[in-house]
């Protein structure tokens, strides 16, 4: 199913033997209403990867992401963090940033106050936190909006605040749960460019949940296609390109070929899920 040409990786230093950041082993999740959201899902995420979890609605991709983040325990299976220090809750705390589908900002706090939250919860003082907060806000282009309240910002800007908050603890793993699904196309493309830039600059590992073939093909160097009923990994597509991922890439032949391949894999996954109905 995968006939993508493997060429030079987009970022130096990332090899196949790179260490694992997180490893899911035979994870299942059954909700209290009996729905089996995930069944025997295994996934190894390597350091520095930009991995997209792609699949139809109800395939359990968001559930998988939440389980990795420690929001709701798995019914069976295990999550391992081979290269992180683990806290009492079994999580590498401060090592995970999470961006929700909605910006999820505190409306009573300014942009600065919202980005301060993760550090505040770690009992970092305001003066100690200010440097890294300003740096992070500048990296998402919000340096001039520190005193604004969320309601004064556009949807895209709110999402930038949410991304800044996720990055302010300098985590090694960034989890993004369909973060740009509610934004218009132009804003989404701009934010995609920015997320890619941040990924290159910081060396962070990203797991990005999306239902957009185009978004996943543009962003990722690995796409994991999931199927529904039960939620499982259907295909694991490495996606390595020599081309710079910029506006020219969006209209290139290579991008078109990639989206074709990914679309086909997604179609097959959807059909499998439908047959299981």
């Amino acid at each position: 199913m995968t006939d993508l040409t493997l060429t030079e990786p987009t970022r130096p230093g990332v090899t196949a033997a790179a260490r694992l950041v997180v490893s899911m082993r035979n994870v299942s999740k059954q909700f209290s209403n009996g729905t089996l959201a995930l069944k025997d899902m295994s996934l190894d995420v390597r350091r520095g990867e930009f991995l997209s979890l792609l699949g139809p609605s109800g395939c359990g991709k968001s559930t998988a992401l939440r389980i990795i983040a420690g929001l709701g325990a798995a019914s069976a299976g295990s999550i391992d963090w081979p290269s992180s220090k683990i806290n009492a809750r079994g999580l590498p705390e401060g090592d995970i940033g999470f961006v929700f589908q909605e910006p999820t900002l505190m409306p009573w706090q300014t942009v600065w106050g919202n980005v301060y939250l993760p550090l505040r919860l770690q009992r970092v003082s305001k003066s100690d936190a200010n440097g890294v907060i300003m740096e992070t806000l500048a990296s998402v282009g919000l340096a001039d909006f520190t005193k604004s309240y969320p309601r004064e910002l556009s949807g895209g800007m709110k999402m930038r605040v949410s991304i800044a908050r996720a990055l302010v603890t300098k985590p090694r793993l960034l989890l993004m749960d369909e973060p740009f699904a509610a934004l218009d196309e132009i804003t989404r493309q701009r934010l995609n460019d920015d997320v890619l830039r941040l990924w290159r600059e910081t060396g962070i590992t990203v797991i990005f949940v999306t239902h957009s073939v185009f978004e996943s093909a543009f962003l990722s160097n690995r796409i994991v296609v999931m199927r529904a009923r039960p939620g499982q990994v259907y295909a694991d597509l490495p996606l390595v390109t020599s081309a710079a991922r910029d506006e020219h890439y969006r209209t290139s032949e290579e991008y078109r070929a990639t989206t074709d391949t990914v679309s086909r894999a997604l179609q097959e996954a959807i059909m499998r899920g439908a047959q299981a109905k």
Binding site: G70, N87, T104, P107, P118, L121, A138, F145, M157, R190
Partner: protein, 292 residues
């Protein structure tokens, strides 16, 4: 991270914000005439009503022992100030103290109630029974059981002001955005941190509602309780002065006491409204003018 990228990026963000940010920055442009009218109309109406009252007394030659004219009331306010002012302080003290205790108790109990469903179930019957029982019916009992009249009055005013604050706070603490709760859980926030940094601030709009209702009710309850206490009040609050002036057919003083009560009510309303505005005007929809 490089300054150049940041600067380029800021430009992109400004472009992206587009008209949204412009709309947010534009100040509300109520015209001057509209603003003058919004103050002038209510003031004019009150002045007209007072003038009509004065005209009615003067033209129909209503005797002062039936109904005093506004000028008589103003005069009484001046001459009887020595009697009325200490009474005003007594009523104010009970009202403010009752509201203060109700705020502490209401918020405190709400925090305890939402910790566990069992605590809530255990305390629920008492909350309902106390709330639905008319204060005027239990005030005489309280006056008998309490060590002195002042604490009985305080208890009455407290009980009445307490429930709107409690029920609003419980509703507020339960309506916290689930995504934000997830976020706090994700960052390993303690129960205490979640309360201080998330649940309490997110309940502020509900608290503001409880405060405004409780503020008005605490004055009403203080007056009702003083009425119930009657002569047991021994020359204390404004409600007692009302009764006393009524017995003595000193209607100008009765009206002057009434005027002071109304003034106190308006002042409490203005103050609690100001406090809620200060708490909410930067971020909550209820305190923000709609832009369209």
């Amino acid at each position: 991270m490089s300054q150049v990228i940041a600067a380029m990026n800021a430009e992109a963000v400004n472009a992206e914000a587009g008209t949204d940010s412009a709309v947010a920055i534009v100040l509300s442009r109520t015209s001057l005439i509209e603003r003058i009218f919004s103050v002038a109309i209510p003031v004019l109406m009150v002045v007209l009503a007072i003038a009509a009252w004065q005209a009615h007394i003067t033209l129909n030659q209503v005797p002062r022992y039936i109904m005093p004219a506004p000028l008589d009331v103003i005069t009484a306010l001046g001459t009887d100030w020595g009697t009325l002012y200490p009474s005003l302080l007594v009523t104010l003290r009970i009202t403010v103290l009752a509201l203060g205790i109700a705020l502490l108790g209401g918020v405190g109990l709400a925090i305890i109630l939402v910790q566990s469903r069992w605590i809530e179930l255990a305390l629920f019957p008492f909350a309902v029974i106390l709330q639905v029982t008319p204060m005027i019916a239990i005030a005489p009992l309280l006056i008998i059981y309490m060590p002195d009249t002042q604490s009985a009055l305080l208890t009455c005013a407290f009980v009445v002001a307490f429930f709107p604050i409690l029920s609003n706070m419980v509703a507020g603490l339960k309506s916290v955005d689930h995504n934000l709760l997830n976020l706090f859980e994700l960052y390993g926030a303690s129960r205490w941190q979640t309360l201080i940094h998330l649940k309490l601030p997110s309940s502020l709009p509900y608290f503001a509602t409880g405060l405004r209702i409780g503020g008005g009710l605490s004055l009403i309850a203080a007056v009702v309780a003083e009425f119930a206490a009657g002569s047991a009040g021994r020359g204390s609050g404004l409600a007692f002065r009302l009764l006393e002036s009524g017995y003595r057919l000193n209607y100008p003083r009765l009206y002057a006491a009434l005027l002071l009560l109304m003034g106190t009510g308006v002042a409490i309303f203005a103050l609690t409204s100001l406090i809620s505005w200060l708490m909410l005007h930067r971020w909550h929809e209820s305190a923000i003018k709609r832009e369209n």
